[in-house]
Symmetry: C2
């Protein structure tokens, strides 16, 4: 089991740290339970179904061909987001930094996955952390896609 | 692991054996791999994803709410079928008998699932078996939905 921690950033780290990044488009055919999500990750397409909650949470993901993505995408209207994901290695830590686009432009989030044997996280100096938002529902991708930019 | 055997019937067994049956509508958002199927079974709605082949075949099914079914259903145009499923118990054997509707009207199939320790199947007298079609691709649901009535 992994623990995810998420941080709101005020700016993107310097370009030379970030590398090229990968474009992500994702949308929800259903943002309820089960959640039905389609996603483009660069040139790859995925369908993901998540159901249940907490320890009963189940996730199933399959690669889909582009025509199937194109068929499903129109069903996600009003529940979409776009971002570029950068991966930055900091010692043993692998940070994922998302720079949102479209209506969410100007929003930057950094995420790290930790093994369940908890240890303190130290955000590296290159991250301009505003605050930790791990437990704020407004910063979940699904909420960002359906409700837009958080007011804070 | 279960073995399925499927038989083509010339007629439906007498109504008094069949009971009420349940209406099934199913359609394929994608009839390829992964296969993405939506299904109405009476008042219940399901999304099923099947991927891979043979022993690597994976199947994932979730209940979905009706509005999600209604959203996905239009994507199945040209790859749908409708049938009424009757379940008939014959000793230890549980037969599922499908009476197809729409363009497939007049087609009747009986299916039985057997445990993997193979034993011979004896079709009960109330089944008017034309022949076994277990290994005929034309009688798979996906093929019936996309290609219609088999010519034989």
């Amino acid at each position: 089991m992994e623990i995810e921690r998420k941080y709101l950033l005020s700016t993107l780290p310097p370009a030379e740290l970030l590398g090229p990044g990968v474009e992500i488009q994702q949308g929800y055919v259903d943002a309820g339970d089960p959640e039905i999500r389609v996603r483009r990750l660069g040139a790859h397409f995925f369908l993901t179904i998540k159901s249940g909650d907490g320890v009963r949470r189940q996730e199933y993901e399959v690669r889909i061909p582009r025509p199937t993505f194109d068929k499903l995408w129109p069903l996600t209207q009003g529940a979409r987001l776009e971002k570029t994901r950068y991966t930055v290695q900091d010692g043993d830590d692998r940070w994922e930094i998302d720079a949102f686009a479209g209506p969410l432009e100007g929003l930057y989030l950094a995420e790290i996955e930790l093994p369940s044997d908890f240890r303190p996280v130290r955000a590296p100096a290159f991250l301009t952390v505003v605050r930790e938002v791990t437990s704020e529902p407004a910063y979940k991708n699904k909420s960002l896609a359906t409700r837009g930019q958080p007011s804070a």
